[in-house]
Amino acid sequence: MAVAPAHAAALPRVASINACTDQLLVALADPAQILGLGPYARDNARWGGSADAHRYPRLSGEAEDVLVLRPDIVVASSFTKRATRDLLKAHGETLVAFDIAQSLDESKAQIRKMGEITRHPDRAEAEVARIDAAIARTRQFVARKRYRVLPVSRRGWVSGGRSLMSSLLAEVGLSNAAGELGLQFGGFASLEAILKLRPDFIVVSSDSDFAEDEGRAFLMHPALDHFYPPSKRLVVPERLTVCGGPAVADALDRIVSEIRRAEREAGGKEDD
């Protein structure tokens, strides 16, 4: 399994032990270059390409199975356990850590960085161009007004002003109301605080009615439903926004189409 085909021998073989580096790696590398993906790669709620992940060995996210593979480069998050990173380095592995992308620009920079690691800068540029194209499409779209929206995740977690979500919203011409709550990087907001803030829309990751835990049940609270029925909720699946990978292009398109839908539904009620 660790032996790469001869034609790929010249290219570095890479193992990824983090969900976000998984996405970047699969988008840019030749399949033969990929020695393994992290433990969450097969989770389809968080990655549109999870079906592809089954083609590669599933790594535990710990040092052990990576050491056995002897990759040329290991990619991980800067939030990967310190002990794991130190152990890998101590055994002579080349470890490249990726920060969490907090803006579109950082996302593009990460794609380029992975392009260099896999020695496919051309592919990286193509992905960046796809994001730029999505940004251009987004700019043609003009919402009726600069809506105040609040991205609310499970348990009332709100992405703050300095987050990838905020950067995406700003690109579409929406303002993140989290700043008014005093949340710069993000934090928990109570139901009452959200209702008092009265944003025009809330951004949620799913419109399912199944509460797998109390955190999700928060988003289905009758009080929140009262002011934010489906027509007031912009649904942007988590898999598009959880990492700053190539998926951010789709996230932009998705936000635009959700705003269009919401405006249509609101217009249908008010104008006709």
């Binding site: 969450y40 989770d43 968080r46 499970r154 348990r155 009332g156 934090g187 928990f188 109570s190 139901l191 009452e192 605080a193 209702l195 008092k196 009265r198 199944f210 509460a211 797998e212 835990d213 109390e214 955190g215 999700r216 049940a217 928060f218 289905m220 609270h221 009758p222 009080a223 009262h226 002011f227």
Partner: protein
Amino acid sequence: MVLLVALLAVISLGVGPVRMSPLKVLEALFGGGDDVHQVIVRQIRLPRAILAVAIGGILGLSGAALQGLLRNPLASPSLFGAPQAAAFGAVLVIALGLADVRSYALPAAAIAMAFLSVFALLAVAGRNAGLLILILAGLAISSLAGAATALAMNLSSNPFVALEIAFWLLGSLEDRSFRHVMLALPFIAIGAAVLMSQRSALRALSLGEETAQSLGVNVGSLRLIVILGVAFGVGGAVAVTGSIGFIGLIAPHLMRPLVGYDPARLLVPSALAGAALLTAADIAVRVIPSTSDIKVGVLTSLIGVPFFLYLIMRERRALGGGVG
């Protein structure tokens, strides 16, 4: 006591992250005023207040009943691992991701585990176990429940489960809805009814097991019924709030100087004291200024543990006697 609970419940409607004048709160409660305020009071704060009263009440009642059953003032559901075990049952449902957390699967699992834990405790410790044995067995059971919870956490496919469970174990009444009230209340009512039905048997038991038997009390079945009642009540409560400890320990002690040592007369006052305690604690967590909200289970433990230590100090002589 009833007045105090009612007063605290009303105050609890008035506090929250959004400041509202008492007048506005009352107006909103009866369907007037601003739409936002109405929803905040009626759909966020009202269910919260109802749950605090009901859950505090059942915890106080369970504590009093267990103390009567074991004829031991240190008995309480949380000391013997019942809430921890109930939490494990609920966590198992969450971790497996099989059922909606707002469905009856959650209280059912919590109740089953609570029953199992108290039953195991009494089975291990035996009929007339000394305090030391009970506490040791209780410690073992709550450790087991804790370990099982951690295991469920590790094996779950839901990556947020660790955070969810961490919050769960702290216990909170935040942002609950009437769906949660509907979820917990039937079981709490059943548990309360079951415990109340055993009042006279508990009184007879306080005269000693033999006397009770001569008075026609079947001690074995009394034991089973009380365990069932505690399991229903605590299980239903834990399913919506997570584990909230020590209310069941403190409440009967607060009431004992007032109503005496008769376990039958202690039940209702203990329930009221429990309701008042939890409602007050739930108000306190909203009033204490902090960046993120304090969980009410943390507060009850912060107050409960010193109280428990004080009780141990007071009972030291009896404890020492038990060992030597």
